[in-house]
Symmetry: C2
Subunit: 257 residues, 2 copies
């Protein structure tokens, strides 16, 4: 398929590489940041522009991989009647694209994407279309880069997926970050925790996290918990999180070890 | 080295396999659970007993891979003068083993171990000894199964490492568990989050988690956060965690995206 990509950031870059690797033809990169746009265009062997008036009119699909607020702005100006146009945002309704075309939709990658990634990650994709034709085209594009990982999802389902993604991705990373800061302040080496972090994420690829829960909280090991809280006296923010997470684990019941 | 292992649970099983793979001779498994003990002994090609009076007296090292409360009980009864005896607990002082021998210490694996593991994980090890000879022996054993990942650590340092391990291992897994429960209640598929979970843990193997932070909290994207909180109205426990983690991310400053 012939694809025009809006954006030159993390999502645009990684999806662009995926499209190219799947054999699609990237017609154009459209982005405000001229330097990033031309750099991505060079990588994807295509051209770039930062003028909406210069957007190619004949592509099969237009992917708006731009920040939420920018989607709205583009939708006000861009007119591509009957072309398939989709944005990649979790929390923006597909209907904001209604002024642009009769064939609009969403192409949402549930993954943390960084343009600096050296290998292309596995990306579950969720699509939605204003009509059957649009849904079919978006599903077909999704299947071409993420076979077996493509699901239809409404605006509401996508928002729920985003909540779950924030919890398992952003919040988890913040726990890593808090631990790193704690280690630095206490003079211990955060690098020694990396194998545990890898193992914890690896384990739930095959078993339920509920079954994998271990540690002093689930064991109701009050003695160890008290020792930990004493150590956290000088880390009040971390202590609040320790207390809340411990209570949450204990009220959750079940678990093992 | 000739090693006697106390315990037949997760830590005893995985350390036992690591010792065997490194060429050590497991002299004996000592455990109360006769069935688990004989099963582990069979796997490690050795014998088992559940009587402290039948413990071999001539091993080079005795590893007490048993729950914290059991360590204390064993220390009251076991006498192995001048043998090297170490427990594997994060939060128990090495000095509880003082009655057992003049050469006591700790051999702490900072990893989440499960006997069901099909492959042996990378295990950072922390050792401590009552004297130089004991430290040397324990360090040598640690080096044999975890080259480049062996560090001396006092009781206090080990307890701090454990706090960091609880945050990055147990609490992280609990976030996975909460997300799984949320997905089940909302009719979305938790399995679709697994690639994101893997990527989030993989990323911080090479960059700082602080640099890897993304999402609506670090972007101060109030509109998305409000949408998420509205969706969490029927999940009060998860909502509390969402609010606290969001505040913590925002007060932390910095970050990217």
């Amino acid at each position: 398929m012939e694809i025009v990509i809006f954006g030159s950031g993390n999502v645009a870059s990684v999806l662009g590489r995926k499209f190219k690797a799947a054999g699609h033809n990237i017609l154009q990169i459209v982005a405000r940041n001229a330097s990033a746009a031309s750099s991505l265009a060079y990588e994807l062997n295509t051209e770039s522009t930062n003028y909406l008036s210069l957007v190619h009119k004949t592509a099969d699909i237009y992917i708006l991989a731009v920040p939420d607020s920018v989607i709205i702005g583009i939708a006000k100006e861009l007119r591509l009647p009957d072309r398939v146009v989709a944005h990649t945002a979790a929390s923006v309704s597909k209907d904001v694209l209604n002024p642009v075309t009769s064939r609009y939709g969403v192409f949402y990658p549930l993954q943390s994407l960084r343009k600096e990634m050296s290998t292309l990650p596995t990306i579950p994709l969720f699509f939605d279309g204003s009509d059957q034709y649009t849904s079919d085209v978006l599903q077909s594009l999704a299947d071409s880069i993420s076979p077996q990982l493509v699901t239809a999802a409404t605006d509401e389902q996508r928002l729920k997926l985003h909540v779950a993604a924030v919890i398992t991705g952003n919040f988890t990373n913040h726990l890593y970050s808090l631990a790193e800061e704690y280690c630095r302040k206490e003079g211990i080496d955060f690098a020694q925790l990396r194998p545990l972090i890898a193992e914890t994420a690896l384990r739930i690829q095959s078993i339920s996290p509920k079954q994998a829960q271990t540690g002093p909280a689930i064991r109701h090991d009050r003695e160890t918990i008290e020792k930990h809280l004493a150590l956290l006296e000088n880390h009040p923010s971390l202590k609040s999180i320790y207390v809340l997470m411990t209570e949450s684990i204990q009220s959750d019941g079940g678990g093992r070890e």
